[in-house]
């Protein structure tokens, strides 16, 4: 909207509270905005409405007891949260997990990435006004959740990994059902893309919106698709491989312009890469135990600090754990949630855009408030 710099009349900025109860904030995010007409002059995210003190709770619990609490941070992607914690703890305790456990973990994590990206696509599309992709993606997400349910009994808060491996052997026939889903998945992605990718309105609403340059993205500490959308090839699975990702062949999709459309393309391509990883994992799944030999009570040997991270669907999910001598619980545990760090970019990304773009940008950052507030 191009108008004269000097306004003809006295204008007053309208202050408006967007959320915490608002359909487009993906939870209880509150954004305090100053508006000039529909133009956002200033936006300030206010968080903390879902704070449960998870990090403090960790200190009161044995290491294995922490795992169910990690589920509840990014509740859209519980498996990768479990994985992050377990990978970090194994680093601290010096445990090596058996190959079968690592492969099962990768299968679960990639299924979770698909499920999480499906939720992102659904809500992002609804925010921009396309309601139909929501139902298509939730159909597939439900199939994935069915697989989870069959494996560990839960659909959302999975608690599906243990320090030293995974708690259960795969049920009979699970691999076939998973295979079937994986084989058909690319066709489903094509279906979503046919609704959005070349849609003129979709392009108009996303190209050039919320542009982040590569330098800015690195300065803000963005990770995951918001970083890769700006053209930085950075994926924890490649740069610091954990579990057995170094044995898997996959690409890191990157964008060029760092706008909402590029991030959309990156996530869509990531889903295709996840399918590729899943296919390889299912083909190569080795035999053997699903748990390493770990003591009944996990106890650190000496005081120490460890940082471990995994590539969660939303970015780098890191755990920083401080351990005492002969401790059975973290002395201090700090989580590096990707959504929290990515949300920092919001004020700069929306400035000068319209209110309608705010919801597009919140959608493209793919935040989960459970993880931001912890």
């Amino acid at each position: 909207m191009n108008g004269p710099d000097q306004s003809l009349f006295d204008v007053e900025e309208m202050e408006i509270n967007f959320g915490p109860q608002h359909p487009a904030t993906h939870g209880v995010l509150r954004v305090k905005m100053k508006l000039d007409g529909e133009k956002i002059m200033e936006a300030k995210p206010i968080i903390g409405y879902l704070h449960r003190g998870t990090e403090k709770l960790f200190e009161t619990m044995d290491f294995p007891q922490c795992i169910p609490h990690t589920d509840r941070m990014d509740y859209v992607a519980a498996a990768t949260n479990n994985q992050g914690f377990c990978v970090t703890m194994e680093k601290l305790l010096g445990v090596t997990i058996p190959p079968r456990a690592a492969y099962i973990r990768m299968i679960l994590a990639e299924l979770q990435r698909l499920a999480s990206h499906l939720v992102w696509l659904a809500t992002h599309a609804v925010d921009i006004g396309a309601i139909t992709p929501f139902f298509y993606t939730f159909r597939e997400r439900d199939a994935i959740l069915d697989l989870f349910e069959e494996y560990c009994g839960a659909r959302l808060t999975l608690n599906t990994m243990k320090i030293g491996g995974v708690p259960f052997e795969l049920p009979d026939g699970w691999l076939d059902r998973c295979s079937e889903l994986v084989d058909g998945f690319n066709a489903h992605i094509d279906e979503y893309e046919s609704l959005l990718t070349e849609n003129r309105i979709w392009k108009k609403r996303t190209i050039g919106i919320g542009v982040v340059s590569a330098e800015e993205a690195i300065e803000w500490g963005l990770t995951g698709p918001p970083l890769r959308g700006s053209g930085v090839k950075w994926d924890i699975r490649k740069v610091f491989p954990y579990d057995r990702y170094d044995e898997i062949d996959f690409e890191i999709p990157i964008g060029k312009n760092g706008d909402t459309y590029d991030r959309y393309r990156v996530r869509i391509e990531e889903m295709r890469q996840s399918v590729r990883i899943l296919r390889q994992c299912l083909d190569r799944l080795p035999d053997g135990p699903e748990m390493a030999r770990v003591p009944k009570v996990l106890r650190t040997k000496e005081p120490g600090m460890v940082y471990g991270s995994v590539e969660a669907p939303k970015g780098e999910l890191g755990y920083f754990i401080v351990a005492t001598e002969k401790g059975t619980a973290p002395y201090r545990c700090r989580v590096r949630p990707p959504s929290f760090i990515n949300l920092q970019a919001l004020p700069a990304m929306v400035e000068g855009h319209l209110v309608a773009d705010l919801v597009a940008i919140i959608g493209t950052l793919d935040i989960v408030l459970g993880e931001i507030d912890r």
């Binding site: 006004g129 309601i131 139909t132 139902f135 609403r205 209110v355 919801v359």
Partner: protein, 345 residues
Amino acid sequence: MSDPIMVYIGIPLIKGIVVLGVLLLTVAYLTFAERKFLGYMQVRLGPNRVGPKGWLQPIADGLKLFTKEDLIPGRAERFVFMLAPILLFAPAILVWAVIPFGESFTIGGVEIQPFLADINIGILFVLAVSTIGVYGIILAGWASNNKFSLMGGLRSAAQMISYEVPMGFAVASVLLMAGTLSLVGIVDAQRDYGLWFIFPGILGFGIFFVCGVAETNRNPFDLPEAEAELVAGFHTEYSGMKFAFFYLAEYANMLVVSSLAVILFFGGWLRPFPNVEFLAFLDLVPPFLWYAGKVLAFIFVFIWFRGTFPRYRFDQLMQIGWKWLLPLSLANVMLVALGVLLLKG
């Protein structure tokens, strides 16, 4: 049966009641149709619990909204707040006074015209009355004393005014071809030509329909109530029957726009190629069914849009209106005028 009381009061009254009843029932079942169609487009079933296959759902909805507590926010402007739904709903119904549904027929020696009035400025009446609806939306947004509602109201004011202009020009191109403002006259003109106006007026129809979608605040132009941004837009604060009025008005307006599109461009109640003898067997279908079928096809397109498109942004919407549709519609009027001049002399 030439009793003047009957002719001037009785028959119009009966016709009015019939039109109103059929209209409201259609509107109620449009909400059902929309949910069913959308359901099937979105791999789900839609409402199927109330009555056989969900057929009583609109009635259940109506009862539910009717018995709901009718909240008025403490800081709202009470009178305007209550006036707004009426201002939106009444014009949407009033327009039907001049919309014709079919040809005259006789029952028991009485000639019945299947429209309430054939006034010689029919189309002007429709445009004028339906514009009043904008006030309903603006006032609803303003009277709610809610910033989201206000923004919804302002958006819709800008939107409806912008799209009224190209729509007017698109209608003007039809008027040039028909040479009359009467809606019945326009359909008769299409019969005389032996051709629906869609064939010479395809561009005008495109403009008209896009504007119609924008006028009715439907996807992809549903910005005034863009739930992702503005919660529920101008009707955020409304509940109960007042909310139902907004809802019904939206569907009634969809019917109006569809009816106008059918009358102006698709020959109203005429069969395809009304003068071709070869297709005379199509006359077995009564005119009213031709009309209703065409209108419902348009309604389906409305629903289809909703299942397919994302939403435009406010400034993009304005750009389309002023930078594309307005020049196009002006050019269209010129072209049609030139054509009429050359062909008719």
